[in-house]
C-alpha cells in the first residue's frame, strides 16, 4: 500500500516557471522517511498537495488506501484558553492518555506543558504541537520542519522515540539537517529544482533505530554525500 506520485506538473498561478515538471516518486507504506531539498524548492508545496490542500496540478497522486494523511508544520499554535497539557488531554483519544504523558516526558516538555502555549519557547512549541499530532489516528504524517527549533540532541531522541512507538506508520520528515536525515531516515527523497531531471532522487538512509548499533561512519558518509550531490 505504498504512496505513489506520478508525473506531477505544477506551477503557481502568477508564477514565472513550473515549480514541478514531471515529478515522480514512491514511498513505502511504513517507516520514517525524509523530504529534503534546498529552501524554496517546493517541499511544503508538495506536502500540501499530498494532503489535497493544493490542487490544480496535472499528474497523479495515489495514496493507495493511506486514507489519513496528516500534515503538521512548525508555525502551528495551540489555542490560548487553557494550558498545553489540557489541550493535549482533550485532543488525545481516551485510550492514549498514557501515551500522551509518555511523549510529553520523552520529548522533554514536562516542565512547561502546564503553562499556556504562548509562554513556551519556540522549540517547546514545536514539540508540544508534534505530540498533539502523534496522538491522532493517521497512516501518513508529514512533519514540515516540525522540529526546526529544537536542539539536535533532543531532536534525535524524539525521532528515535517516534520510530520505536509507531513502526507501522509512515512518516515524511521535512528537515534541512543532512546528517540527521542521513542517520535516522529510511528513504530520503531529495527534491531538486524543476530544471533538473529526475526532479526527485531517492537516497537510502542509514535508518538508525533505537537499541540498534550505531550505523558505521562510512555508511553515513556515503548517504550524506549522495544527498549533497543530489541536491
Amino acid at each position: 500500500m505504498k504512496l505513489e506520485v506520478r508525473q506531477l506538473v505544477f506551477r503557481f498561478p502568477n508564477a514565472s516557471g513550473n515549480l514541478f515538471s514531471d515529478l515522480s516518486f514512491q514511498l513505502p507504506a511504513e517507516g520514517f522517511h525524509a523530504l529534503f531539498g534546498p529552501s524554496g524548492v517546493g517541499k511544503t508545496t508538495l506536502a500540501r498537495m499530498l494532503t489535497g490542500e493544493i490542487r490544480g496540478f496535472s499528474g497523479e497522486i495515489s495514496l493507495n488506501g493511506n486514507r489519513r494523511v496528516l500534515y503538521t508544520y512548525n508555525l502551528e499554535r495551540l489555542p490560548g484558553w487553557s494550558s498545553v497539557r489540557r489541550h493535549l488531554d482533550e485532543t488525545a483519544p481516551p485510550a492514549r492518555r498514557l501515551q500522551a504523558q509518555e511523549l510529553i516526558t520523552e520529548f522533554g516538555i514536562d516542565g512547561c506543558v502546564d503553562s499556556r502555549f504562548s509562554r513556551l519557547s519556540m522549540g517547546q512549541q514545536n514539540r508540544a504541537n508534534l505530540v498533539r499530532y502523534l496522538l491522532q489516528e493517521f497512516d501518513v504524517l508529514i512533519m514540515d520542519e516540525s522540529l526546526a527549533n529544537v536542539d539536535e540532541f533532543t531532536r534525535e531522541k524524539i525521532i528515535l522515540k517516534i520510530k520505536a512507538l509507531f513502526p507501522e506508520r509512515c512518516f515524511l520528515y521535512i528537515s534541512h539537517n543532512v546528517a540527521e536525515v542521513a542517520r535516522l531516515c529510511g528513504r530520503i527523497l531529495v527534491l531538486r529544482a524543476a530544471s533538473k531531471a529526475p526532479q526527485v532522487v531517492c537516497v537510502q538512509g542509514a535508518d538508525h533505530a533505537p537499541e540498534s548499533p550505531a550505523p558505521q561512519p562510512e555508511r553515513l558518509e556515503r548517504a550524506m554525500l549522495e544527498i549533497v550531490h543530489a541536491a
Partner: protein
Amino acid sequence: MLRRRIFQFFMIYALGIALLFALKYALGLSDYVVPGPAEIGRTASVYAGPYLLAVLNTLAVAILGHLLSIGLATAVAILGRLTAWVGSFIRTAAYNIQAYPIVAVAPIIFILLGDGLGSRLLIAAMICYFPLLLSFIGIFSEPVAEIEHFYESTQRMTWRLQVKIRAFENIHKISTVVVGSATMAMVGTIVAEFIAATAGIGYSIRIALYQSDLAKILVALFLIGVGTSLYLVSLEGLGAALQARFKRS
C-alpha cells in the same frame, strides 16, 4: 480609572456648556434660546433628583438590552457564517432591517408587541446590536490558520470550536467593541423611551423638548453622561479582569 473617566467626562461637559454660553453671549441669544447659568442651576436643583432616578431606570433597561444585543449579535454573526446562501441571506436580512429607521418601524413593533418593557427592550437592542454584529461577522468569518489547521485536518472542527478560537484570538478587539457598544445600548434605550414614551430619562427628555426647556435637557445629558461613564468603567474593569484571567500562567 473611574476617577479619571468621571473627571474627563466633567471636563467634556464643562467644555460643551462653555461653548454654548460663549455662543449665547456672542450672539446675544436670549434666555429662552440658551438658558443662563442661574436657570440651569435652578432646574438642576429641582430635577436632579427625579432625573437621577430616571437615569438609573434607563441604565437598568440599557444593561438588559446590552446583554440581549450581545446575544443577538453573536447569534446572527454565527449564523452569518453558514454555508454561502443561507449565511448571506441572514446577513442581507440583518443589514436591510438595520437600514430601516427605528422610528418608521416602531409603530409596527407596537402593533406586534404592544407597549411595555418588551418593545422598549427590543428597540434598544435593535439600535445597539448592529455595531457588535459588524465586528463579530468580521472576526468570526476570518480563519486563524495556524490554530485551526489541526482541528480541520483531524475532523475535530465544530462551529462552536471555530467561533471560540476566532473569538479568543480577537479577544482584545471584541472587548473593545462590547464595552463601546454599551453607549449604544444607553442611547438605544433612551430613544426607545423617547418614542415609546413610557418611563426613564428618554421620556423626560421628550417632555423637556415638548416644553422647549433646554435647561432640563442639559441636566438630563449631564446625568446620562455620568451614568454611562459608570457603566463603561465597570465593563472595562470586567473586560480587563477576564483578559487577565486568560493571560495568566
